[in-house]
Symmetry: C2
Subunit: 299 residues, 2 copies
Amino acid sequence: MDSFDIQTYLQQKKALVDKTLNTLLPDKETFPASLHQAMRYCLFAGGKRLRPILALAAAEAVGGKPDRLIRQACALELLHTYTLIHDDLPAMDNDDYRRGCLATHKVFGEAIAVLTGDALLTEAFKVLADHRQGSPPEPAQTLAIIKLIAEAGGSQGVIGGQVVDLESEGKTIGKDLLEYIHIHKTGKLITASVMLGALLGRAREKEIDCLEKYAKAVGLAFQITDDILDMLGSTKKLGKKVGSDTKKGKATYPGILGMDAAKKMQQTLFNQAIQALQSFGEEAEPLRAIAKIIIERDK
Amino acid sequence: MDSFDIQTYLQQKKALVDKTLNTLLPDKETFPASLHQAMRYCLFAGGKRLRPILALAAAEAVGGKPDRLIRQACALELLHTYTLIHDDLPAMDNDDYRRGCLATHKVFGEAIAVLTGDALLTEAFKVLADHRQGSPPEPAQTLAIIKLIAEAGGSQGVIGGQVVDLESEGKTIGKDLLEYIHIHKTGKLITASVMLGALLGRAREKEIDCLEKYAKAVGLAFQITDDILDMLGSTKKLGKKVGSDTKKGKATYPGILGMDAAKKMQQTLFNQAIQALQSFGEEAEPLRAIAKIIIERDK
């Protein structure tokens, strides 16, 4: 697949995700309007749609039709967006900017920001459970997906990671605890995204194992890259202040391991991700290219 | 059913709900411990378990076996508890006490309180989707239940009600908007609880219609009673300060209609609830007794 162009692929998938998200959410005039405006504000503030695209690409990698799981893939973005809104709250990471725009709580106030996050989380499960539209999978499979997402997003998943992240601020922590934070805060939902695509794409068991390995490597590589960019990147591209994690006393991979070792780990994880896809043909080319983009991105 | 004793009934059902909730949540040592402690703190701070009990009683009313839906009924309490934790936050209603105990954010801090609410909400959907235990209903029916709960708890349900409630503080609002707030903030989840019990108890269509009417009347009666108690009740019994809603500039039924008219409306709704159950026999006695308790309670 010499002609495969990842930028075109990402653009096309992002357009599909954006279009679908637009149809899934109540429009911004729906009462109460402030809430529905806020739900759309952060959702359409320039996200890369990495999680839904990973789900679509994973389905393609096992011969599935990505169109059939677009709604479920969008639920991942609804859930991811809620975590961003809550993480940015003054009581949490206290970030004024997100994706280059003012954070939801800066525009709509704290109360609406909390409720907007709650509403997006709830909407994610509603979308997953809604079997009226499109060509839905078997109900039992949908239940397995809902459980997968709830576990990834729950107290021993994303939320657990955020708790430990907050509790570790300003403390000296070791590599193990930092890895816990990153695997849970970021890795769990990225892995669940790939698994969602694999399951809905009707992957065989062996394929699922390989894709899970791919996802875990990519998830951690994503976060290490974030840490490196936080230290080196530019505010404009990152959409938040450079060094903001370090300033908050948050542990980062370059902070604990040193920049060289962090970059080496990033490369090792990339190699692991590619290795995990060895038995796949060109249908996994998008997943390989996404792994590359994740470690080479500058924002 | 002369011998029917609602107090014994409520005690037995509450014990069953509490026992099941205890098994559903990770224990309080599970890492991260602060989060799992906080999840249990508010959940076991003396709730009456009205919503799960309504679900169980609705199932009984249509000849279903309440034991078969105990886990799903408990998911209602998980969701309800998350709304309490978030509503009490300083950015929201800023209440220091709940159910007579310090609010979650007063004990664990604001950040953990936000995340604890998020985790309980997520856990509710996990419990609903988990089909491994007990004698689960058909997967398609479970999906219908998940959608029902997500809609009731979503941006056009409970969350919508809370948004309008917050935005109406200190303003003069009419009876229609107050009714919107109460129907959404409280009524939607109470109705969904009764519907969950009816659906899982395999109600016939006509029974579902009657139970929905019952639930809507009871839901609104519950909130009007809350308003009346807020004006008249004692701090000790209510678990929060008397007149706290009025002091915050929140509209209440007695405030808008006057106390006499509010009490009359409470009685009318009670009569509607009983009327809706006319075609049911003694198997609906618990539902009738709950309606009575709801308007006669002193906390």
